[in-house]
Symmetry: C2
């Protein structure tokens, strides 16, 4: 049984919250894994069920676990990530925001592509090629490729093996589509080509090639955004 420090200045609910968070991490629970139920946790920790319930609510609000009614509490697929984490819904000038976002992508993603070429596993590369094909098919079929495009960039970040950028890149790239109204319908061919080049470079471990392919890819977008911003 866990000993709670009764002299701890933190409220009991917060202590239980921290304990459960550590539990999820230390037991290496994965997305979809089930936590012990309320009764078991109350027993394990020697606290009341209402305290457990409040702590679990905190975990839910932080997107760490999710409750499936009648089934129990599970590790959330959102992995602790929240909506609009950058607070960009507060931004005032959307055209400027679009430019700021692509500038931040240019600081991060070329470096990430280089790290991906260095650190990707063979399995990573298979996933990358498959995802690249998927985006290309959607574009060719004139369907919306936004979500799959974001996923491709997330996969590249995953290949880098830097666990911060794996979470950071989807946040930034989703922001582009949530907060900015960018029509890049004129960039479809460029998107297909430069995506393909990035993935090819990663595949053949061409570190610099991957970096500069990513710069080209992002700069196609930047040029469109910059033109809009300057036309304001």
């Amino acid at each position: 049984m866990q000993e709670f420090e009764i002299y701890d200045s933190k409220p009991l609910v917060e202590q239980v919250f921290n304990y459960l968070l550590t539990y999820v991490i230390d037991k290496k629970l994965e997305v979809g894994d089930k936590l012990p139920n309320e009764y078991e946790l109350a027993e394990m920790l020697g606290v009341g069920r209402s305290t457990i319930r409040e702590a679990v609510k905190l975990l839910v609000s932080r997107n760490i676990v999710e409750i499936r009614r009648g089934a129990g509490t599970f590790v959330s697929s959102k992995r602790g990530m929240v909506e609009d984490p950058l607070g960009l819904s507060m931004a005032k000038d959307r055209e400027k925001l679009a430019l700021d976002l692509v500038n931040v992508r240019l600081m991060l993603e070329p470096e990430i592509a280089a790290m991906a070429a260095k650190n990707a596993t063979d399995e990573d590369i298979e996933n990358l090629v498959r995802q690249c094909d998927k985006v290309e098919s959607l574009i060719r079929a004139q369907k919306d490729h936004t979500q799959e495009d974001i996923k491709l960039h997330r996969y590249i970040a995953k290949c880098s093996k830097n666990q911060v950028v794996e979470n950071l890149i989807p946040i930034i790239n989703s922001s582009v589509f949530v907060f900015v109204n960018v029509t890049n319908s004129q960039l479809l061919e460029e998107t297909i080509e430069t995506h393909r080049e990035i993935v090819d470079c990663i595949k053949r471990r061409d570190v610099e090639g991957a970096k500069y392919a990513m710069i080209m890819h992002l700069n196609h977008n930047r040029k469109v955004i910059s033109k809009k911003y300057n036309a304001q």
Copy 2:
């Protein structure tokens, strides 16, 4: 009075939430500004007070406004930012996380320092110098300088005039202190010196100087973290 699209597929509470968010942005309300009260909003929007209350709750949960009991609803100083937005509380290897975080800082902050040297206003620079003095005094007095150090890096990001990094840098730098146990007690002199050099370069508009001073500053930290990681 605001006309709500009754055929809008979004629930009424969400429509009111979006309306209020736009209201805060369009009226250019600043941190601490007061919103109209529940009665006034209900009247303005032609919806029930319970709908207003639910929408305001959503704004509170997103850290966009805060309720001060008996006083009213105010624009929150958290400016729409949330706790642990990168979901790093789920990270398993803390030593690796420390290295990943400093690597991400190295992708972003040198570029940001360069942009700061280019775009800072005279007022920005005054604030920067004051904040740099503050951090130095705390270090000299052997007091905890963490929060003021994070603030200095946020001020530098603010000087860049890229509104994404202004929100992003505090998130990343707070994560360093929340999730990573880095004692850089041996780096106090280096911290004072390199902070001073960064601020001096920004002050005299030395774009490259600011960039490379930031690289030096971060690399002092990186070396300590890297040694720990490799000693695992």
